[in-house]
Symmetry: C2
Subunit: 102 residues, 2 copies
């Protein structure tokens, strides 16, 4: 059973695009990780500086292990510096999906 | 530029699994639609009866046209009957993605 992680992140005013860029760069580090089944990073159209991320992983443990990598930690650290508060996180159990491509 | 649509839907108490099932069945009707780049339907782990859906489409218009199909309307109509209030909807501009597979 795969696991979904949905994050809502709010950047400091004017920093939304930079936050989205950091999250995309961070997510790219999972491109060759077979436990990362996919992710989408999207900027909210109607609310400035809000970025949503949905990730699908084989297991929650695989995600928790993957984000410990130094390269990921460095980018996440940069992202936190321009966030306005903590991310909101929702854990999901995927029950249906079609391939999501960029 | 593709478009993302994120929905948070709350079912009437005890109807979350049925709502998720209806949403999966509805989404399957887009499986052969080349404008539907993908979707994920997921049940929230920590909040009963909450279902999230993320869809990616080539354009917003393609989505709006697709949901007019009678088969989709019938399933969406059933879903609304067991929802507790209206869905919350967020429009996204995807800025990065890796294939999301079930």
């Amino acid at each position: 059973m795969s696991t979904g992680l949905l994050f809502k992140m709010t950047a400091k005013p004017g920093s939304g695009k930079e936050l989205a860029h950091l999250l995309v760069e961070s997510s790219k580090l999972f491109d060759d990780n077979p436990d990362c089944l996919g992710y989408v990073v999207g900027e909210a159209n109607d609310v400035p500086d809000v970025v949503w991320v949905l990730e699908l992983w084989t297991t929650r443990q695989a995600h928790d292990d993957a984000i410990k990598a130094p390269g990921v930690q460095a980018l996440v650290g940069q992202a936190f510096q321009i966030m306005d508060g903590m991310p909101e996180q929702v854990e999901l159990t995927p029950v249906g999906a079609k391939a999501l491509l960029s």
